[in-house]
Symmetry: C2
Subunit: 282 residues, 2 copies
């Protein structure tokens, strides 16, 4: 269980203090945090709280949104990402997750938006590296291409980060976003061989998708994603980092946080641990 | 305008007779038909109606749904597809569009489902070829992978059909499904070089997506898809076939059919014709 990290969004009905207490009580060693609740709780105060509970912060979510072409918006985005890098460093989070941004102020300029992401990464990589934080580009499912993220496959992310030092910029393998990809296993192997897998995140794919498609992810085991196979492939590619469970789900958010965490622990054991206890081989 | 084909689903509020009359009156030379309304109107009667109006049928939608593993379901699917091929032949439709099917009766077996699609194509290809009908595999957007279609990119479709004769099995380039793909232009060129582009379909991508994500496609020009660029690439790859406008949209279906057709003609001219009249170069 020591690889499991609970991403804060999965139990967003909990305050930061509740999350830290709940995870500690349940024996969870790691959490993934989001900037807004961290800022609300206070950055230094959050860092102290997490440390005193003995928890590790596996990632900070999220930077990115690099695609605006308008100069002032672009400058603001880069400044905001530098601030996010500093926040990650203060929290001791080794990884800052980046969601690249959608088509923003040029609604037909997909190629240009993708180029602006590459330029922003080149500009921010050294700044992150100097602070001990690794930028992690997260390809989002293609259904988010226009409004949220123009980086949509592992191959695209791999090619995007290739010109930059691997210790500065990696890639997130999120099962929800990439499970459908006919090249997913090939790309995980290539990313691993290049030392580019910065983080593994898990959620399941369930239908029907809700309006807006953002908050309808499935609890582990409820959907179609071959969770164990994808984690095994990622491990086989050399990944040794945390398994962060990040589920955006209105259904989970309506329930008591403690109940969601207990369910999550059971599902993690059943659907992600290498040797499931239910098989009697553990 | 002689390449334009109006897919029946775009104006589904019209009966088949209304569609044929409306297109004839508006000078539209081609229609794409769907099996259910054709069966309802009567197959032979539809064929006569369309022919007497001087219209061409550019495609019949749809066959497919090949992914069930259970033998009886599989046999039934193949029989249904043979029937669809015969219907296409009687209508004089050169192309039968195939939507491959989702995860069906094995919810975690994506690789197996994809294999079963390949097997079905191999079985049906000669049957189609003998009847002068070409099977056209349509990659659907990855958001449909679990529930509707396990073929999700042009590359995947290209590799899927490669073992089969090009005159029997081709691929549909539908702008709605493939516009986001970082390899879209490369793949259109490869498909064209291999003589595999069976049909070009157009719709625009708009957000937010509605619940279930099926019926929220955009009228040409309302969204983010570079329609003209994708058609130009398809033409440059050697495609000389129709431009079929297929828009699943609750918004369009709520409006009078004649109004939707008039709007469509204007949008087609503005967003798909090579030399837009508004530029003064026509």
């Amino acid at each position: 269980m020591n690889r499991l990290s609970v991403n804060q969004q999965t139990i967003r009905q909990w305050s930061l203090a509740e999350l830290v207490a709940g995870c500690s009580d349940a024996g969870v060693a790691n959490v993934g945090l989001w900037r807004e609740p961290v800022t609300e709780h206070g950055l230094a105060r959050t860092a102290r709280l997490v440390r005193s509970a003995g928890l590790s912060v596996t990632s900070l979510c999220r930077g990115g949104f690099f695609t605006a072409a308008e100069p002032a918006a672009r400058t603001a985005a880069l400044a905001d990402n530098r601030a996010a890098i500093e926040q990650a460093a203060e929290l001791g989070a080794p990884v800052l997750v980046l969601v690249s941004g959608g088509l923003a102020d040029r609604p037909h300029d997909l190629a240009g938006a993708r180029l602006r992401v590459a330029e922003a990464l080149a500009e921010l990589g050294p700044y992150a590296g100097e602070r001990g934080v690794r930028l992690a580009v997260e390809p989002l499912h293609p259904m988010f291409c226009s409004d949220r993220c123009v980086v949509n496959t592992l191959r695209q992310a791999r090619e995007l980060v290739a010109p930059l030092p691997a210790e500065q910029v990696g890639v997130v393998v999120d099962t929800y976003h990439c499970w459908w990809d006919p090249q997913v296993y090939e790309e995980i192997a290539l990313l691993g061989a290049a030392g580019r897998i910065a983080l593994f995140q898990a959620a399941d794919w369930v239908t029907p998708l809700p309006e807006g498609v953002l908050v309808g992810r499935g609890q582990l085991g409820d959907g179609h994603v071959p969770l164990r196979e994808l984690l095994a492939a990622t491990d086989a590619a050399g990944y040794r980092g945390p398994v962060e469970v990040e589920i955006f789900s209105e259904d989970l958010w309506r329930r008591p946080g403690g109940e969601v965490l207990r369910e999550l622990l059971g599902r993690y054991r059943d659907h992600l641990l290498e040797r499931p206890e239910r098989d009697g081989t553990g």
